[in-house]
Symmetry: C2
Subunit: 217 residues, 2 copies
């Protein structure tokens, strides 16, 4: 029984890694579509999000079946509950990638990224992609150094998010209302994406150390 | 055993109702603080959010203990898993109320609601409050007519959300960048709040009918 359970937990972990890999690809394409106003790339993000949703739903089914069949208790039980929460956060990160992709589609053929913020959004996009890739590795390896790196990169994303508002509300801002709306939404999405990764990292930390954290996304 | 389990499920339901009641109070104060630029009211929302977080964490503990002790299967298991998800959404709705309250605090003593959008935000705020109150009743009574009403009111919130962008991007918009940022964020928060309520309503529908829905917030 115990061996079957370990195999099933391994299956859960493999699926989380698979979903996280798709999310990382999605945010990579979404941020590139945003920074390059590439509407074809944006379409692929939007069209393929259903794969992430479907895999997350399947993973939830698997977790529920494990709960039913194996009646895990103590730490094992919390691992399965954590997996349900991690899957919810990954699914949401996929949605946020879609929102970023949609921004480039709405404004096409206009450039979506407002002048004066192109460097900032390239940097935020790179950080989100790095965070997503590190998250996949963290889920695969449970290497806690990666959790620390994700937290540090999230701090950088938060600082950039604040700098967007400083820029938009500053005296030198020459953007139209549409630029202000785009900057506000895009910055918020980039920041939320990174927040979800930090929240998942905390849960993985539990899986590795036994320190349970209440949900906090 | 079965009777104990039913009592524990009742306890879960009671606690969901308790948290939802706090969330409804919080969104009521948050939207009033926003519409009236009442910073004292905003502070109460911000200061009291930890109560919602703590109750949600306690509810999660209870649900995990039920899973461990009772080993529920089939529909009973899904009810407990649904409760974990509902608690996560309620906790998030509390966070969104805080974000709305923070907007009025940031701009104080300036009015936060941009001219030309005061009626729209009053309407969105009223709808969010109504939705939250109906959600509490839905959790208490499992009256599915309320789920339908919540969905209809969410449609109205979505329409108002789009109308905010029409306004802000229209030719008559005279707002400064700060007004545009406030309108964009506030509208997004109001819309997300209602989305979470719809997502919870779907899960309650499962509790009542057995139609499992994958997570979708």
């Amino acid at each position: 029984m115990r061996e079957v359970f370990q195999q099933e937990l391994q299956e859960v972990q493999d699926r989380l890694v698979e979903i996280s890999t798709l999310v990382a690809g999605s945010i990579d394409r979404a941020t590139r579509s945003f920074n390059e106003s590439n509407v074809a790339l944006a379409e692929t993000v939007i069209e393929e999000d259903h794969k992430i949703d479907a895999l997350a739903a399947e993973l939830d089914e698997l977790a529920i079946q494990i709960l039913a069949r194996q009646n895990p208790v103590a730490r094992d039980l919390r691992i399965v509950v954590s997996a349900l929460r991690i899957s919810a956060s990954l699914e949401r990160m996929g949605d946020i990638a879609v929102h970023i992709a949609q921004l480039s589609r709405y404004r096409f053929p206009e450039k979506v990224v407002p002048k004066g913020l192109r460097g900032t959004f390239r940097e935020m996009g790179s950080l989100d992609v790095e965070i997503a890739n590190k998250l996949t590795e963290l889920l695969r390896t449970e290497d806690m150094d990666l959790a620390e790196e994700i937290r540090n990169e999230d701090d950088k994303v938060d600082a950039l998010h604040l700098s967007v508002f400083d820029k938009v509300l500053g005296e030198t801002w020459k953007g139209q209302a549409a630029d202000t709306v785009d900057a506000t939404l895009a910055s918020r999405y980039h920041e939320r994406f990174a927040d979800h990764a930090v929240s998942i990292a905390k849960k993985v930390q539990y899986l590795a150390t036994g320190d349970w954290v209440p949900q906090d996304t």
